[in-house]
Symmetry: C2
Subunit: 584 residues, 2 copies
């Protein structure tokens, strides 16, 4: 059928089963045209074309509820649920997000972007349904990669006790973003090898009924399986073996690179744009490879995002057992790092800002209370990073800097970062977090100190008077820009690089009182619970005026950087304007 | 042998195996004498006497490392590792903490108090050992109740991939604090019933070798099992079936009450002190039972601490399927609540302040980004609550109030609490957290409003001038006390109950500028990232002076309330003194 005619799943449910393969082919083709021009999650969606068609064919959506884990694999789902134009018409490509979004469609149950949440959320839907005596199917679709996350386990464990309809579809493509890690994956492999008949079955141990579909890209087999479990009265797992990147050879052959890809040449699969600019993932990987070679005690941990850390398959091989991918399991990565440090190893855990939220308690209990010298590198902790509402990098300052015991460093350029990284790895006094700067990669103009053990010493980069501007991390250049603009108005501002986010240089703050009336703070994160507020508190009982700049406590989705910065008065002209007004 | 002679495990390793039963009896007897006088975790330790003796008998501690999950079951461990005097001599009872503590002994690897962390921490010890080419046994001992926590799963999953010595002892007494919940427990029951021979075996699915010990209180059987796995070259689980409360009839018969107990009469097992004073657990349970009866959509969730919420076994039975204990699984409780709310149910999740740290990401992603109207009740969120370093209730304001979207309420008395609770359950606009006050239970003097939908409206309880004192939640009475002291000095202070912790009443704050020079904030939590800093930031560019009172960003262990409050200047005379000085 013509794809443009699919306004809802009802429009293709009338098709005969043997017509669905053709529908899948069309969907895949259209999907690839958009993705090759637009970029996005290629492999996860290619592998799930048939399953998505089969789900909407069998289940009575939207009355029946399907919750997709991570939801980066819902492009086909969107094509089938009233949003086909966003895939057919290039002008409308950006009208849908890359994740499920209830604001877009009643077929989307939740806004989801983090992994391992779908089974838990679906267990709640099922419970809510039962409390109200309603009847419909609740389906959670979760990838094998997500199963290593603690929340997925907790959801499976509790979901198994529901005495009613609860269907978990395990989309097993034998990969996370990179290869899977964890003992569980041995069991999934065994289940694939035995056509689901292995003696020990993870899902059965948790209490689930279990069905295995060996070819998860066979739409007919999937329909048969889904029909078997539809309207079940108890929890059941349908384990489907899919092929990540299915139907597009470059994505089948290079699964990791095609998990998420920018625009690519459809024929060759080669990226349309190569970005060879300097980047912190490369800087981190090179530095840590060198440290690992020099010292067998050093190791790098990731929770399933080795690429974020610059650790390509080749580099992972080079690092050998000193590179540890624990799978999607931030809690384990943090706690394991603490154990490694306690045993005398030197662990460095690199993690995306938004994902460290999954390990708050481990940063506090497993690490800080024990004072283990874990090194944490926060990637994408910046307003200039990922802009999906589920991946914002604005919250880590408020999260980490308010846990006692952590030294939280904010380098402003490569040399400062490397100096901090080397000091953090060499010392054994503190857990140290380092926030990789966002925006353009900058270099130091002069020398950089090598010892950071004199904690919370801010650095005056330019001595002035009347107003002092403290620009943390990414926004240190913004502080300099404000100073430049103020200079044009005849005001020579003091410019400060605080370097530390976890404590105040009270001596310096006191000394500023002599010849300053205003302190401006600028940080790359939310104001609430952030760095600037600590300075406002410190000066609260003095005559010093304090103006804090950062982001308002609000979520934003797919924002335009400049618009968001302007809305938060995070531009040099705006801050300068405010400063002049306050100094009047 | 004489217990007082045990200075280290070496002192009893020379005993013959058949002499160990007598040692166990002596340890149990001495333990019970202390606990009946002192209180503590009774049941978990009684069940583990034999296993603890067997562990230290077989393994070469402290070279071999044993990590105890939660570590509330390490009293016997402490008796065997140089700390027997703290159990024999009443004057020294308080010389040991109730958890492992490296400051006490080299036999204690970590300071642990939260559940589900031991396997993860031990996996790190093993990895750190391997990186350095060292050789010793790493043992994690984890209770069945802790296995439902996501971190325990993540640790097991990763630990299984270690290509070296790694021993996990599952201490299965078929209980958490209360009964277990989760599909996994069906598998544990099956393993117990089949003497470990069931077809599906949870631990085997994760890749572990597996040994079962049916009588986990038989020291000889335990020694045999531990000897089998000692110096293993791969990950192995030893599943031991123990009896919570073993050897003390009252504790065997009333396992939930004896999980943790205050002093009790040794003969009858009856508590020595009955506390019949008014308490928020009772108030919460009565209120929510009434709400559940009135509306089948209402439900209460707990993550394995029903007693904290006042839900005794009888009340749980009364609530039926509307009371949901997900087991030790805060991530699931939060996400499931979001799903229930999305399906039209009305969930209320009651949780201990320190444990909500395990669900930060779920509060943000699963709940707030989705705007699901979950109600969260924070228990023990106060400096006046639990004082073990691992259970501090000081951090939830900084944690919750800085996540966008949450309405965070701080009632100051019973009537205000109930009004907020009813409004929160009735509305469907926001996720709402309510912080149960600490300290003495207070009652409202006048009427209380019923509608809290006009967000962030602070309440002026007494109009004055010059100085305004904003006392949040537990510390509202302290604000009143300061006002009383200031009145004696001729200053009539304004006293404000902010009620909301998640936003500011900017109109009121602006209006204070007219006739106030100083605003004092007092909160029951850490200053960093807390409520007061937001007010300091708001007034930062004005002439208003702001003095924030709360706790310094430091951990404290087994602190004396009065000492800690005084050290943080959180007493009425100190705040008054500061205010007078600032107003000069």
């Amino acid at each position: 059928m013509e794809l443009s005619k699919i306004k809802s799943p009802a429009d293709f449910r009338s098709l005969k089963i043997d017509e669905l393969k053709d529908l899948c082919d069309q969907l895949r083709k259209t999907f690839l045209i958009k993705l090759s021009n637009h970029g996005g999650h290629v492999g996860p969606n290619l592998g799930l074309v048939e399953a998505t068609v089969a789900l909407h064919y069998v289940f009575d959506t939207p009355k029946d509820k399907i919750v997709y884990d991570v939801s980066h694999q819902t492009y086909i789902h969107k094509m089938l649920t009233g949003r086909i134009e966003a895939f057919l018409d290039p002008a409308k490509y950006d009208e849908v997000t890359g994740y499920t979004n209830p604001k877009e469609s009643e077929y989307d149950l939740f806004t989801i972007g983090h992994t391992s949440t779908a089974v838990s959320l679906a267990s709640g839907l099922a419970k809510g349904r039962d409390l109200q005596g309603e009847h419909y199917n609740v389906v959670a679709l979760v990838g094998d990669g997500s199963l290593s996350g603690g929340e997925a386990f907790e959801g499976l464990d509790e979901g198994a006790t529901l005495d009613s309809n609860f269907i978990v579809i395990v989309n097993d493509n034998n990969m996370a973003i990179a290869e899977n890690h964890g003992g569980l994956y041995g069991n999934l492999a065994l289940l694939r090898q035995t056509d689901g008949k292995a003696e020990n079955n993870y899902f059965k141990t948790l209490g689930y009924d279990y069905i295995y579909v060996g070819d998860g890209n066979d739409v007919v087999a999937l329909i048969e399986a889904f029909r078997k479990v539809k309207n079940t009265d108890h929890p059941v797992v349908v384990h489907i073996h899919t092929d990540k990147g299915h139907g597009y050879k470059p994505a089948e052959e290079n699964k990791e690179a095609f998990h998420f890809s920018g625009p690519f040449d459809l024929e060759s699969g080669r990226p349309k744009f190569e970005d060879n600019s300097e980047s912190y993932d490369e800087i981190f990987a090179q530095e840590m490879l060198a440290e690992m070679k020099a010292d067998p005690k050093v190791c790098v941990l990731t929770a399933a995002t080795p690429g974020v850390l610059g650790f390509s398959p080749e580099r992972r091989k080079e690092a050998g057992r000193q590179f540890i991918d624990v799978g999607i399991a931030e809690q384990e990565a943090a706690a394991m790092a603490s154990g490694i440090a306690a045993a005398g190893g030197r662990p460095c855990f690199g993690v995306v800002s938004s994902f460290i939220q999954r390990a708050y308690d481990q940063l506090s209990q497993d690490i800080s209370i024990n004072g283990t010298p874990v090194v944490l590198n926060i990637f994408y902790g910046t307003v200039l990073g990922m802009n999906d509402v589920t991946h914002l990098g604005w919250f880590d300052i408020a999260l980490i800097s308010n846990i006692p015991g952590w030294v939280f460093l904010a380098p402003t350029n490569v040399e400062e970062y490397l100096s901090m990284q080397r000091w953090a790895m060499a010392q054994t006094e503190y857990p140290v977090a380092i926030r990789i700067p966002g925006g353009e990669v900058r270099h130091a103009e002069g020398g950089v100190q090598t010892d950071w053990s004199d904690l919370n010493k801010f650095s005056i980069e330019h001595k002035g008077n009347e107003v002092a501007i403290i620009g943390a991390g990414t926004f240190f250049p913004l502080a300099q820009q404000v100073a430049d603009l103020l200079a044009k108005e005849g005001i020579e501002a003091t410019v400060i690089n605080p370097r530390y986010l976890s404590g105040l240089d009270t001596d310096m703050l006191d000394s500023l009182k002599k010849n300053h009336r205003l302190v401006i703070t600028i940080e790359d994160g939310i104001l609430d619970g952030g760095f600037g507020e600590k300075i406002a508190r410190y000066y609260g009982t003095s005559d010093m005026k304090v103006a804090n700049y950062g982001l308002a406590k609000k979520f934003a989705d797919r924002y335009d950087y400049n618009q968001l910065l302007t809305a938060n008065r995070l531009t040099a002209p705006q801050i300068t304007e405010d400063a002049l007004s306050l100094l009047k």
